[in-house]
Symmetry: C2
Subunit: 332 residues, 2 copies
């Protein structure tokens, strides 16, 4: 049975109010401060945040709804979210949606019952209904990385469409004409990046035959199979745009396995820079997302809602990305 504020009261002879005031950073006579601090040490006292939360109606905990904690991307961005939250004195209650919309919806209710002060969500669903209970409960919500098609929430992400479009310039400038794409089909980012790719090709007046448009899932297997498919074509593309980390990884493996060399045999541009690509040959041209900035901005937005009680209209922030130069593109 851990020490409570009453034990401190007993040892110091002070009132609960004074002790509470001290605990919350209020002004207390120096001598009392000393007494209280001594008692805290003595008794190994730690504030009971549950009790505190009951009265303040604040838990200093943010719920994180993550599409799949198994995915490497999740960890890479959550580490920044967590660090930013910790700086504000907040913790993360993480709920893994396991890429399952039902679990995701159930997790929202779970977080509500846990009285989290806000929710950061990298969604599985592309529609926003599942968030309504939280919204109705008045819990601030910030979307991260992925937006929703039918609902307005604060959102921090990159400009996927523009980034993909921009990435294509590298290939177009080097005179590639036969360019293929491997993109995930259902997810927000996959769709947007595919659109950006198509925008760029259309603007360049280039046609993209159906067999150059490989749509799959957000997975290594998709990249691997997609690239194999492309390399098996009679009329191979000279370049391929790979729309995310998993797809890029899979595609690179297929290339290696089949004994092709990039950029000699095929030029490459990928998405989602990760350390592994820094030590791979050839170094692939990669769109890099500002993961740290994304995590921090999402936390900033949420904190603003939480602490200011800000009720401004939702804003969607689309951060710029950066092209990491490589040597995976051949001049045509």
């Amino acid at each position: 049975m851990p020490a409570t504020i009453r034990d401190i009261k007993k040892q110091t002879g002070l009132s609960l109010a004074t002790i509470s005031k001290y605990l919350n950073g209020g002004n207390v006579l120096p001598e009392n401060k000393v007494k209280i601090e001594a008692a805290i040490k003595d008794l190994h006292y730690e504030v009971n945040e549950i009790a505190r939360g009951l009265v303040t109606n604040k838990t200093r905990t943010v719920g994180i709804l993550v599409y799949s904690i198994e995915s490497p991307f999740s960890g890479l961005i959550l580490t920044h979210v967590g660090t930013a939250l910790r700086k504000h004195g907040y913790g993360m209650l993480i709920a893994d949606s396991c890429n399952d919309e039902e679990i995701e919806a159930a997790n929202v209710k779970y977080l509500i019952s846990k009285k989290v002060d806000g929710i950061i969500v990298i969604p599985v669903a592309s529609k926003g209904d599942f968030l309504l209970p939280a919204k109705n409960a008045g819990i601030p919500i910030v979307l991260l990385d992925r937006s929703l098609t039918d609902a307005q929430y604060d959102c921090v992400r990159i400009d996927n469409r523009k980034s993909a479009n921009y990435a294509m310039k590298e290939l177009l400038n080097k005179n590639h004409k036969k360019i293929a794409v491997i993109a995930s089909e259902k997810e927000y980012t996959g769709r947007e990046r595919y659109n950006g790719f198509m925008d760029a090709m259309r603007d360049a007046g280039l046609d993209v035959p159906k067999e150059y448009q490989v749509r799959g899932t957000h997975s290594i297997a998709s990249g691997y199979n997609g690239m194999k498919q492309l390399l098996a074509l009679k009329d191979k593309p000279t370049a391929v745009f790979m729309s995310n980390y998993e797809i890029t990884l899979g595609a690179m493996l297929a290339i290696n396995e089949l004994g092709y060399k990039s950029p000699d045999d095929i030029s490459l541009v990928g998405f989602d820079d990760q350390i592994i690509f820094h030590i791979l040959k050839p170094q692939v041209y990669m769109i890099e997302q500002p993961l740290q900035e994304m995590g921090e901005k999402a936390v900033d937005m949420l904190m603003k809602r939480v602490t200011d009680g800000s009720l401004d209209n939702p804003v969607e922030i689309a951060l710029a990305t950066r092209m990491v130069q490589g040597n995976s593109i051949k001049e045509m």
Copy 2:
């Protein structure tokens, strides 16, 4: 302002006690049950777990202290931990130690103040002092994947030393004599696997020259540099044992980059099977950890302590691993 149990009382005319009883699965007259359920729907009532926690002194939340949420291994095992916990009706409050012992120690206190019912920890530190505050507070603790050198806690892990030893048989049976190792030096698993490797070599009566013992960190870079180092030796090893996922990945990249082929030029055995290696050529012989079983067992042990209040002596469970056959070993 969300509905409370008092709002239900108003609408149903029942007493708090009856409603509470219903909420906790107690027996209530069918007519009352109907009334309560209607009111809950009407008012969008969700239990306030904070208030409940204050009186029951249980939060149905488990704290997770993870060495680095950024690491792919973390996500792979936490997904199973999370799923198992959810089945028990528990959530995870995840605290990222960021590979930093100071943060780790601070996070313990944070979790205590959050009154988590138990803690699962994949530690950064190799000594157990940082867990003392939680232990003293009577919070059950289960170590996962990594043990500690100086403290007794429940622990679920694989038998790293034996697994590494066993993995070596594949190489020894195929008559390899000049075998090198790349292992992390400071971490628990790295040390144990290194020891298992050395055991096997000693038992086989084989010498391991210093330059065949590459010790580094648990990182891709370590594997990459380590393998380059080995391949640059005048007297190259015929086989290499790579002690974890990151090291294996890095080592494979180095091999590819230098244009070597496995198993023709070098035989390989790795640790930590992950999907990526399933589509890589050659398929590397890999020790596979039972991640799901590990996650579930850890949760089981914790739940036993939490719900039974079991105070038995700590037990350390070392699970068996499995060798995933590949084609990365040449018969000598």
